[in-house]
Symmetry: C3
Subunit: 217 residues, 3 copies
């Protein structure tokens, strides 16, 4: 029950992020709706295709599409107010990412995917919608560009859910452990301003010099 | 029989639209062919993957690829003449969209997808090829950008096919009803210049004032 | 055994090409890793989804991801040295393309796909990762743009593997024939500078005049 609510919250929040980008790109009302729906449901559809659930859940039950549509419509109407809430959008987005990482991983486990594969499916679920959103509006995915941590928290959350479930935790606990870990990790990284490095010009040289220094001692 | 012909017509027309964009982008002969094939067959491949038909029909039977190749080759040779025919390309594109919306929906029904899911599969079939085409040449999909109606006609056509089939119409009639509705809707919208609105700056304020005015009475 | 080695070599080489582009685009360490993994494994995942192998092999066994990660990490550390090796990267990329075209086709044959469909699956495997790589960094795929031969060698290799297997060759021989043909074809085309034509302005007119000249005789 709680999980179902969290799942819809994840869909709503990703739909809102897609719709907000659509509004900023001056897309028409249908374009905004398309962005909301594909961002919110894209990760789950990728998950279902990868684990062989056809047709995907979002094509079978109307709830997912309805939640995404309502969230997209709210942004279409209230987008100036949403711009003010940018901070809380980041928080909600972190919640959505965490929920999708853990529910994606558990769904895969249910369908007989190995623990290793289930963790990867969890990451794909958490990150797929955002990548699709950025490709659609013709930008390099934020996931690739932004130097703050996003994928490592998703990976941790998916791995935590799989590990907890393998070690005999109940489903709810495995899901909550993964979702909380991923969300908290992402929020702390944002709050502390943790940065991921780009490739330095002469990393090989630096490693070489460090190794030589060690051997000189 | 008629439907088979219409289906190949849809493939040919989408192939021509992909090839024309490839020629304008100065792609080489193989790039133009790739654009033709992926635009024409992309929607159907997405449909088959979503409903679990693997390998997709376009990988199993040679007819689809041949039709797309011939249409692409014609555009490669005759593209200056095609530029003149821009109006008729829009008409043919509307026919292709209508045919794919209804055949996509009926194919999904045949594979046991729910009516709701089948309508969504129909839309995906009708719109998938064009979105793929635009992503490949690095542009924001026309579907998102253009302010004339495209997705609503596709949705109407797919829904009409599903509804007619559920209410006991024969397959041919369900298909023709959907294809004709989607195509006619799209053509009338183009002819009348119907426009889809973008998000207004202060829609929430306007709705608020309208509500207050109602309550003052 | 040899084939397994070749397959990992293909993954490593595609991972290196993805990572190198990621470094050039100034992506952070995780972005570079994502580029490496998606480029190296994207074609194989597409292959498995198309032929109904779910979850895809790269989600089931850890080896593919490990090879891609190691190759991506090497590029991240040694990228200035890799820039010097541009020639050898092109050679390795040709080997990877050839290996994926033939292994993709044979995998499809094993799963009951028709010879025709298997050749198409082989091409998709060989070209899918590179197209995904270019879409992610927001560029028109090299496959579409570059005027040297890439897809025709992939097609030849996939078709050769299918034909050899149909005519009773052992699996190893069919695979080696396809991989060698595709790789050699690509390398000779690069070496000789073979170019693919773009659409000429008045091809129809030229064909018309040539036909009239023939009939005048």
């Amino acid at each position: 029950m709680l999980l179902s609510v969290l799942n819809y919250a994840g869909i709503a929040v990703f739909a809102a992020s897609g719709a907000l980008i659509g509004v900023r790109k001056r897309l028409d009302v249908f374009g905004v709706w398309t962005m909301a729906v594909l961002t919110a449901l894209g990760g789950g559809v990728a998950r279902d295709v990868l684990i062989g659930v056809t047709p995907p859940t979002s094509f079978q039950s109307w709830q997912n599409l309805t939640v995404a549509t309502v969230a997209g419509a709210l942004v279409f109407v209230l987008h100036p107010q949403f711009a003010v809430l940018r901070g809380s959008v980041l928080v909600l987005d972190a919640v959505g990412m965490g929920v999708f990482a853990s529910t994606g991983a558990l769904t895969a486990l249910h369908h007989g995917v190995s623990p290793y594969g289930s963790a990867l499916v969890g990451i794909t679920t958490a990150l797929g919608g955002g990548v699709l959103r950025d490709i659609l509006v013709n930008e390099v995915p934020l996931l690739l560009q932004q130097r703050d941590l996003y994928a490592i928290p998703a990976l941790s959350g998916a791995a935590a859910t799989v590990a907890a479930y393998q070690w005999g935790a109940t489903e709810s606990r495995a899901l909550i452990a993964g979702a909380v870990l991923a969300t908290a990790f992402r929020l702390v990284a944002l709050w502390q301003g943790w940065r991921v490095p780009v490739a330095p010009e002469d990393l090989a040289g630096r490693i070489g010099r460090a190794v030589r220094r060690v051997f000189r001692r």
